[in-house]
Each structure stands twice: as structure tokens, then as C-alpha cells.
């Protein structure tokens, strides 16, 4: 077979390696969300769906929910714009699935039997971090078109709120990431993660959260706002505008928005892990142990990407997955801990507090790096 066939197979395998866990975790997160909310509100949570006598702590509920969504009537409002109404959920879901292709879920590994090293990342783009922002900015279109196409005042209000909120916090998200870019000197995701293995003081690794604490807080808050989940869920605001841009959706189209939300939780958790929590690196393990001593050259830079043994690569993949899931649970917990902001509070927090802080962070980081 020609070499590009092998390349195609390699990419497809990696896509499966990313998408299957991503969607499985998204389904499990719907269960986790309901259990966590139950815990916070002193309830039992979902526990009825069963296969025979087994309820598995409610773990069957995601399957039952999906089946129900598929068989529910798909109601499209009479005066809605049919094409855009159908397209909007796809536009909301697709970007969050694409973003994961540049997040490295493991180091470059040497697998026995395969001649060349394999990077555990679908696409190692040169402008990786910028690509993430570019693609995630597309998510606004799904929301905005959903609101507009529904031909419902509440939907439109929700869409306006969502677009304004996502647009505002995208700026903070980007500026918070600039600090990380300046410190690690790259926008390539594989390099950003690899640089976090270099030791800091006292054996601590130079994880993003340690060298960019303010950047981390800003990124986290902006990420929560991008998720449109409580405390930033004014676009849905069920006590004010019914359900915002979701109002006129039902059945599996609604389900796609729902899945998109939980995939986004994992995406932002993965991004937080990759930028601030050392990516796939295992804390306490000297990354030097895992290496085979070879490197893959990164073009136009003076250094290369170290290759790890395949066993270590597997461990590091597990470490990455574990970190992402912990991040997911923390992000979900925030929803059940804080009450909702008012809309004007969301805007003034973004523009009057986070934006100046983000600019200050860039300035101070730049000054320290130059000195």
C-alpha cells in the first residue's frame, strides 16, 4: 500500500481514539450531572432505569435517555426557517468535536513493529492553539442561528444573550492563553505540553497553573462563560426566557445541543489540562524516564519532540484521561454550587474586570519573560 494509505489509517485510528472516549464521557457526564445535582440538593437522583433487577446506580439512564430522544416527535415550529433550524444543532455540535483534534492526549511514542514514531495527537498543527480559538468561535453560529431560525422571541433573546456572552468572553479566553503562549514560547499544542515537563523550583514541574496562576483563573472563568452553564447560563435563563435558544427544539435536535454542551465540558477540561495541568505528564514522574532517547525534530525550531516508550505512552494517555475527567467533575460541580449571574453582571464582569486583568496578566508576564 502507498505510504499515504498508512497515514490515512493512522489518522483514522487516532480520530476513533479521541471521538469514542469523548462521546462516551459526554454520555456519562449527563448521568454525573444528575447525580451531582442530586447530591447537592439532598436527593437520590436517577435510579429507576433498569435491566431486569440491575439499576447500576442509574448508569442505564443515559442509554434510556438517548433512546427516548430518538423516538420523540421532532417538532419544528410552523413559521420557523426549516433549513437553518435543522442546521443549527449540527453547527453547535461540530466545532466542539473538531477542537479535540489538536489537543495532544499523549506524547510521541515508538510502537514496536511500526517504523516511525507516532504522535498521540490527531493533528499537530503549527498554529494549534489559534486553531482551537478559531474553531470554537464557530460555535456561536449554531446558537445564533438556532435562536433566529426558531422564529420565537424567547429564542431570539436567548441567542442574542448567548452571542454577546460568547463573543465577550472569547476575548478574555484568548488573552488569558496569551500569557501561556508567552511563557512557553509556542502556539503549537505538542510543544506547549512538552515544555510543562521542565522542572521549576523544588522538583515542581512548570505546569501552567504554577507559572500562570492569574491566567488560569481568567481562563477558567472565561471557559465557564463559553460553556453557557451556570453561573453563566443567562442565555437559557429558564426563569426569564423559557429556555432561550433551546426553546423550539425537541427530540434528537434538542439532544444534539445537549450532547454538544457535555462534549464542550470535556473539550474545555482537556484544554485546561493541556495548558495549565501539564497535559499528559504524570506528576512525580520524571519525564526523562519515559523517553527512548530519540527525538522528532520540529521544523524551524532548534529542539525536537522527545519520543516515549509505548508503555509510558499508554500510562500518559491514561493520566491525561483521568485529569480530563477530574476537570469535568469540577466544572460540573461549579454549576451546582453558584447561583446565576444577572445578564448585566455577566457583561460587566467580562468587560470591566476580566478584560483589564487579562491585559495586566499579559503585560506582567511579558515584562518578566523579557527581563
Amino acid at each position: 500500500m502507498p505510504s499515504w494509505w498508512w497515514l490515512l489509517i493512522e489518522v483514522l485510528v487516532k480520530v476513533v481514539l479521541v471521538l469514542v472516549p469523548l462521546l462516551t464521557v459526554a454520555a456519562l457526564l449527563t448521568w454525573d450531572e444528575r447525580k451531582q445535582s442530586a447530591l447537592m440538593q439532598d436527593r437520590l437522583g436517577p435510579n429507576r432505569a433498569n435491566i431486569g433487577p440491575f439499576t447500576l446506580w442509574g448508569l442505564i439512564h443515559p442509554i434510556a435517555d438517548t433512546l427516548k430522544l430518538f423516538f420523540k416527535e421532532d417538532i419544528v415550529p410552523d413559521r420557523a426557517d426549516k433549513l437553518l433550524h435543522a442546521l443549527a444543532p449540527i453547527l453547535a455540535l461540530a466545532p466542539s468535536l473538531i477542537v479535540y483534534c489538536v489537543i495532544p492526549f499523549g506524547p510521541a511514542v515508538q510502537i514496536p513493529g511500526i517504523g516511525r514514531p507516532i504522535a498521540l495527537q490527531v493533528a499537530d498543527l503549527d498554529a494549534g492553539l489559534l486553531f482551537i480559538f478559531a474553531i470554537s468561535s464557530l460555535a456561536v453560529f449554531g446558537v445564533a442561528l438556532a435562536g433566529w431560525a426558531s422564529n420565537n422571541k424567547f429564542s431570539l433573546l436567548g441567542a442574542l444573550r448567548a452571542s454577546a456572552q460568547m463573543f465577550s468572553y472569547e476575548i478574555v479566553l484568548g488573552l488569558a492563553a496569551v500569557g501561556v503562549i508567552v511563557v512557553f514560547g509556542s502556539v503549537r499544542m505538542s510543544e506547549l505540553v512538552a515544555r510543562q515537563a521542565t522542572p521549576l523550583w523544588g522538583g515542581l514541574p512548570s505546569w501552567g497553573i504554577l507559572v500562570q496562576p492569574l491566567g488560569f483563573v481568567l481562563f477558567m472563568v472565561a471557559a465557564l462563560a463559553e460553556l453557557k452553564r451556570s453561573p453563566f447560563d443567562v442565555p437559557e435563563g429558564e426563569s426569564e426566557i423559557v429556555a432561550g435558544f433551546w426553546t423550539e427544539y425537541s427530540g434528537m435536535r434538542w439532544g444534539m445541543f445537549y450532547v454538544a454542551e457535555f462534549v464542550e465540558v470535556s473539550v474545555l477540561s482537556g484544554l485546561l489540562v493541556a495548558l495549565f495541568f501539564g497535559g499528559y505528564h504524570i506528576p512525580g514522574v520524571d519525564p526523562g524516564w519515559a523517553l527512548t532517547g530519540h527525538t522528532v525534530a520540529i521544523p524551524f525550531t532548534s529542539h525536537g519532540l522527545a519520543i516515549a516508550g509505548w508503555g509510558w505512552g499508554l500510562l500518559m494517555m491514561l493520566a491525561f484521561g483521568l485529569k480530563v475527567i477530574v476537570g469535568d467533575v469540577v466544572l460540573q460541580q461549579i454549576r451546582w454550587t453558584f447561583p446565576r449571574f444577572r445578564y448585566d453582571q455577566v457583561m460587566s464582569l467580562g468587560w470591566k474586570m476580566l478584560l483589564p486583568l487579562a491585559l495586566l496578566n499579559v503585560l506582567v508576564t511579558g515584562a518578566i519573560v523579557i527581563r
Partner: protein, 197 residues
Amino acid sequence: MQGLADAGWLAGLRLSDLLFYAVALVAVTGALAVAFGRNIVYSAFGLLLALFGVAAIYVFISADLVAVVQLLVYIGGVLVLILFAIMLTSKIGDARRSNLTLALVPGGVIFLLLLGLTVFLSLTTPWGTVAGRGLPTLRDAALEPTSERIGDALLTDFLLPFEIASVVLLAALIGAVIIARKEMRLLTTGGGQGNRP
């Protein structure tokens, strides 16, 4: 360069060529939707396709950073603002309100001038020697990292244009604030609550 005259031109098609034509089709379809769409929301959506297709073509000429910036600035920024303006304007879906075009005669003159310029450029550009001057061609560009070199160039050789662009942006920002404030003042003096700045 083997042209259409070569009988085996179809056999010479590579996967990247097919991808290029697919991407170009997306861009052209989007552009047509912008020009002929009777509903301005569909036009905006066509613009999304057109800009996306152009971004993909940038990738073909090994300009991945430019492609990503195109997505970030034009689709994530400009187009969202356009959609915002559309959604905030009432009854904009009416066919009569959207896509008001110039009259036939000036429109036709502009079209013919642009057509002439495009044809002239495509005939006079020495396509075959572009590669000889060290510039990437569509067929042979390798996907090389560009962001570091562009970043360096922006802050060294092209620092002055870069700074001037930022001054222009600042001026635009201040202008936007002034326009917004003036409307606010008119609203408040028109008999609303007068305690807003």
C-alpha cells in the same frame, strides 16, 4: 506545466487536486449564495461558506497561520458582528430590504472592469515561473510551519505597519464609543431615566 492539451490530464489528478476543487466549489457556492441570496441571513451564511473555503485554500498554499487567522478574524469576528446586526434589525428577512443592488448600468460597468482586470492578471501572470522565484505554488507547497516566522517578521521588518494598524484600530474603537455615547445621551434627554452617563 501540463495543461488541458495533454490527453492524460485526468490521470495526473492527485488527491490534493481533488480536495482543492472540492474546497474551491465550497468557496464559489458560498460566494454565489451571498450575491444571489434573497434573504440576508442566507447571504450571511453564504459568506460563512465562502470565507471558510478561502481559509481552506490558504492551507493549500501552506499558509496555515493565515488560514487560522482568517477563521478567527473574519468568521469568528466580522461575520458574528454582521449576524448580530441582522438579528437586531427588525423585518430584515424581507426580500425588499435586503440586497439592494446598484442599477444595471453602473453594476455592469463595474463587473466588466473587474472581469477585464481578472482576465488580464490571469493571462499575464507567469504561473510556470512562480515556483522558480521561490514562491509556493498550489501543487507543490509543502505544509511548513509559518507562525514563528510571521511573528518575527511582524515585530521586526513590519513593525511600523503593525503599529499603524493598531493605531487605526484604536481610532475606530474610540469612534465607536463616541457614536454609542451620543445615542445614549439622546435617549436619556428624550425623557428616560436621566441618571445614565
